[in-house]
Symmetry: C2
Amino acid sequence: MSKRIAGPEIERLIQLLAKVPGLGPRSARRAALHLIKKKEQLLAPLSVAMADAVDKVRVCSTCGNVDTSDPCTICTDERRDRSLLIVVEDVSDLWALERSGAMNARYHVLGGTLSPLDGVGPDDLTIAKLVSRVAEGEVKEVILAVNATVEGQTTAHYITDQLSGLGARVTRLAHGVPVGGELDYLDEGTIAAALKSRTAF
Amino acid sequence: MSKRIAGPEIERLIQLLAKVPGLGPRSARRAALHLIKKKEQLLAPLSVAMADAVDKVRVCSTCGNVDTSDPCTICTDERRDRSLLIVVEDVSDLWALERSGAMNARYHVLGGTLSPLDGVGPDDLTIAKLVSRVAEGEVKEVILAVNATVEGQTTAHYITDQLSGLGARVTRLAHGVPVGGELDYLDEGTIAAALKSRTAF
């Protein structure tokens, strides 16, 4: 703002909100005003929820998920199949897989992908911990649910090498046409992969 | 989420973030994860800034602006021209006018527009307070900076009636081509208004 029109508290709130992904400088102002107008219904509960998260959220020392308990809710869930381990790049991928509700497995969050150009090597990811989890013998199948990018696939190959000889089957997600997707909008690589992996109708 | 995958604190944070304008359920999850990852740099300061705002932000009893002091920073600013009063619908309009830096005036926030269909009458807005501010005699010009909507214009006419006889000139914002705007994309009403109010080149 060109001149000082409000106390520093409001400007600080706007500045910090502008750093939240999905909000820019303009929408941060709109958000701040909305929060101030809904002080009791939204701003106060949100500030408490954030303070709570600051106090209580930690990274699970087993799988790398974020939760308020360590080991996390998923790692300690007795109803999950302990022979299945799904490897993901990031906690957001773990959440996406959980939303699908397709598997009742446990997870391992890598914390990124191998990327020599960005200086990310195996030691920057949780690969050593993954190997020692699998070496314990309980895991029978490791599903590599990394992104279908060059870095993701490079990481998948590296992990497969590291896990060889530990007795666990290593699998990866199928490539194909997204459910609800239109062929016209798909790239050639996906169409070729879907044709190659075609199934009986 | 289909099943419980994290402590209730994270889910509550996502639920509340989803109510912030500009964020939906999907971007709220992304924002929550980003905030949790940047716990010390962003989540903690934001929770403090919000708690601060809850404690300190109030509505200015003179003009209706939101600020941490009452009367607000603008109302108590001695360098502002006390003969000029700009009437706006909402605090967001006040902020927009201040960003333009074009006027060094004080403001009066109506809190909305007259809208009989929605049950908003003169008593639901701060019109009576506006009239008494102008009646004090210090204000020589009232600039009606209400939106160029039907409700805004109706409200402007009503206010003009209420202020008649108090000795202050009542003006409104000019209609015309937005700076940087292309004629091709403008509606006929705006073009007609810009032609009618054409100025010497």
